[in-house]
């Protein structure tokens, strides 16, 4: 007489699948609610004339919203400004993060305190950081101007945020300050996984410090580097809060970034259709940037 003590493989497989889906579905539902729904809603909006001041006339307009935003003057300005901003900030944030991580990896005394200090800018809410930088950089009463004037470096206050040639640099500087801690931590984590023996072997082979960094450390940091580049590019392209607090896209349109343009179309011009079209265009640009990164930094299976 045989007694069945364990479920048959087929039954076990079904149970296992049920468990898998049972645990994944709630998460998927949340993702659908917060990502998929806005995505579909925005897609629908982008193909309709949705202007809040014309609430009872919302015809389907196909790709007209896309055509209108692309042909506007502000679009060219926003694309150019966003590219400049990303080119200014992504390499700087990455290089600074890597540099600080390399320094922290030297096992200096007070390592914990230093890490906490490095993380400080990241822990400050973006809007608070923006207000702080505004008070520092203000062209009439900013403390940076006060300091530079006292040191004799300038002879009158510099309008950092209202000179079109300086405003973008000022916003980029605030962004870099706020953003560099995350790459630092990611690179530091990556550096701490590199066994000292590998570097020691390179040293015995008479590799210089630069050669050790270039041919040993850097290749082993490809994974965090890719994450940093992808993340920082996304943040640079979609940055909004700092522009909102610091310059409002001005003076003129000199700091009007793509995200600010999308915000303006939606909440100031009350044109939801064009705002949605701009969001889609921004996503398309980001997807392209991410694919390019993936191709440039070819990750091999073994780094997983």
């Amino acid at each position: 007489m045989a007694v069945a003590t364990a479920p048959r493989p087929a039954k076990r497989f079904r149970r296992s699948r049920l468990y898998t889906w049972g645990t994944i579905l709630p998460v998927l539902a949340l993702v659908a609610l917060f990502t998929l729904f806005p995505f579909v809603y925005a897609a629908v909006n982008s193909t309709r004339q949705r202007i809040l001041t014309i609430p009872y006339h919302q015809p389907f307009v196909g790709l007209k919203n896309y055509e209108q935003v692309i042909s506007s003057d502000t679009f060219d300005v926003a694309v150019r400004n966003t590219l400049v901003f990303a080119l200014l900030t992504v390499p700087t944030v990455t290089a600074l993060g890597l540099g600080v991580a390399l320094l922290l990896n030297q096992r200096v005394r007070g390592f914990g305190v230093l890490v906490a200090l490095v993380l400080l800018p990241w822990s400050i809410p973006l809007v608070s950081a923006g207000i702080m930088w505004r008070l520092l950089l203000h062209g009439n009463f900013g403390s940076l101007n006060g300091l530079l004037l006292q040191l004799g470096i300038i002879d009158s206050y510099v309008p950092w945020l209202s000179d079109p040639d300086l405003a973008m640099g000022a916003v980029a500087m605030a962004h870099v300050w706020r953003e560099f801690p995350l790459p630092t931590i990611l690179f530091l984590a990556g550096l701490q996984t590199i066994t000292p023996e590998i570097l020691e072997a390179a040293r015995l082979d008479r590799a210089t410090a630069w050669q050790r960094f270039r041919y040993v450390t850097l290749p082993l940091l490809k994974a965090p580097l890719l994450i940093v580049l992808v993340y920082e590019t996304m943040i640079a392209v979609s940055v909004f809060d700092l522009v909102y607090v610091l310059t409002g896209g001005g003076p003129g349109t000199s700091t009007t970034l793509f995200s600010w343009y999308a915000y303006t179309a939606t909440f100031k011009f009350l044109n939801l259709g064009q705002g949605a079209a701009l969001s889609f265009l921004m996503t398309a640009a980001l997807v392209i940037a991410i694919v390019v990164y993936m191709r440039v930094i070819r990750l091999r299976e073994e780094v997983v």
Binding site: T53, P55, P159, T253
Partner: protein, 447 residues
């Protein structure tokens, strides 16, 4: 491969989630608010952040005399007010009573966010005869009244009398040319590096009103009676004003270059500290400058707007009846009317709240009988000049071109005004772009 997939998935989710939240924030303008969420006697009152403690105290007094009605107050920054209200109204979170402005009246009515009060609160419309004409006009659309005044005021020219005398002048400038002359003299004598600071922060809705005032002051117009732009006509007053502002900043260096990042509170502080001698602001700031804790306190005076006609902008900010009250039904509307009457109308035969604003904060008022109140006269004369204020009020005009698309045009116009002041485009080019945008918006709205 796995890492690449994970990175791609992570990137996709974050990108989509963050970006589309902007697009989806618009909400559904046809969405109805949840019914039965609050009792009809509980009103949502939304204001921009100015003297909140006074508002709270006024609410307390109202609730004391109307125990069946409770008020939930929410305040938002003036700079974000328009955008936040757009979000509130479109997401089905419409307030019952809210501050509004002649800036936005047409836009908000077109969007279906405000209700006319003459039908819903007929008692409030009876005050109309006592309001300054520009204020009544600012709250009226298609012969329907949409509010009762919170305050009505003038955009005025303010100068530091002590600094003007120090520069060797006996009185304030009468024209823009004289203003330039006095500022140059001050700069030369080292009295101020930048004697002029007219705040032009891009995201401050006041900026356009200051430009309008300067154009009006010199006898110009922005739009004609058919709401067609005239500011872009060759040799227009608007062109002259923009050229004057650009020259003052870039050529003569008598205007603070940081004015493009400065709003009202910043300029009040800078003027109070004696960094500048001339500005254009809403009149109530004169009270703050002369009574507040400032180094130059007591030295400030108003003058008629420099120019050939000395006209200026008269504006009104008002209590409006929001869609929220109407959606809740008659009881909520009735409570809202009562509340609006307490704040913008008479209680015990007196404009109590309005008088309080005038006495304590120096806010202007639309209710003309208050000018005859000795207590109000005495209070104004402490920091201003009732006679001159009356004279400027008589010369005041409402903003021209107020249409449902004016709000969207204003945002674009401010960008172009910046470009002209910075010298990035000529005033003529900037004004033409503003006119083109106007026509585009008019067409879009079937105007």
């Amino acid at each position: 491969m796995l890492l690449r997939r994970r990175v791609a998935f992570f990137a996709g989710v974050v990108a989509a989630g963050s970006l589309f939240s902007i697009a989806a924030c618009g909400g559904n303008d046809e969405a109805a608010p949840a019914e039965g969420v609050k009792a009809a006697g509980n009103l949502d009152f939304v204001v921009w952040s100015y003297s909140i403690e006074t508002i709270q105290d006024n609410i307390k007094r109202f609730e004391k005399s109307n125990p069946a009605i409770t008020i939930k107050l929410a305040d938002h920054s003036w700079f974000d007010y328009h955008d936040i209200m757009a979000t509130k109204f479109t997401s089905g979170n419409a307030p019952d009573v809210a501050y509004s402005s002649d800036h936005w009246l047409r836009e908000w009515v077109a969007a279906g966010w405000l209700e006319p009060i003459d039908k819903r609160c007929p008692g409030l419309a009876n005050y109309k005869d006592e309001w300054a004409p520009y204020a009544a006009e600012g709250m009226t659309l298609d012969n329907k009244l949409y509010g009762v005044p919170y305050y009505a005021d003038l955009v005025i020219f303010i100068y530091n009398d002590k600094m003007v005398k120090q520069a060797g002048f006996s009185g304030p400038p009468q024209t823009l040319a004289e203003l330039q002359q006095q500022a140059l003299a001050m700069k030369k004598k080292g009295i101020a590096q930048y004697p002029i600071n007219i705040p032009m922060k891009k995201d401050d809705p006041w900026a356009i009103e200051f430009v309008y005032s300067m154009v009006y002051g010199d006898g110009g117009s922005m739009f004609n009676k058919e709401n067609a732009p005239v500011f872009n006509e060759p040799g227009s007053q608007a062109e002259k004003v923009l050229q004057w502002l650009a020259d003052a900043r870039n050529k003569l260096k008598i205007s603070d270059p940081a004015a493009l990042e400065m709003a009202e509170p910043d300029v009040v502080k800078a003027m109070g500290a004696g960094r500048h001698a001339f500005t254009i602001l809403a009149k109530y700031n004169l009270a703050e400058l002369n009574l507040g804790q400032h180094k130059q306190k007591g030295n400030f005076k108003m003058a008629l707007m420099p120019g050939s006609t000395h006209s200026t902008v008269g504006f009104v900010r008002f209590y409006s009846l929001g869609k929220g009250a109407v959606d809740q039904g008659d009881a909520a509307v009735k409570a809202s009317c009562k509340f609006m009457n307490y704040f913008g109308g008479k209680t015990g035969g007196q404009y109590k709240v309005m008088k309080r604003w005038a006495l304590e904060k120096g806010l202007g008022f639309a209710n003309l009988p208050l000018y005859d109140d000795p207590q109000v006269q005495q209070a104004i004369n402490k920091w201003g000049d009732v006679a001159l204020e009356r004279k400027q009020a008589e010369l005041a005009r409402v903003k021209e071109g107020l249409t449902p698309w004016w709000g969207a045009w204003d945002i674009y116009a401010r960008e172009q005004i910046h470009a002209a002041i910075l010298g990035r485009s000529t005033p003529k080019q900037a004004l033409q772009k503003m006119a083109d945008r106007w026509e585009q918006l008019r067409e879009q709205h079937g105007g």
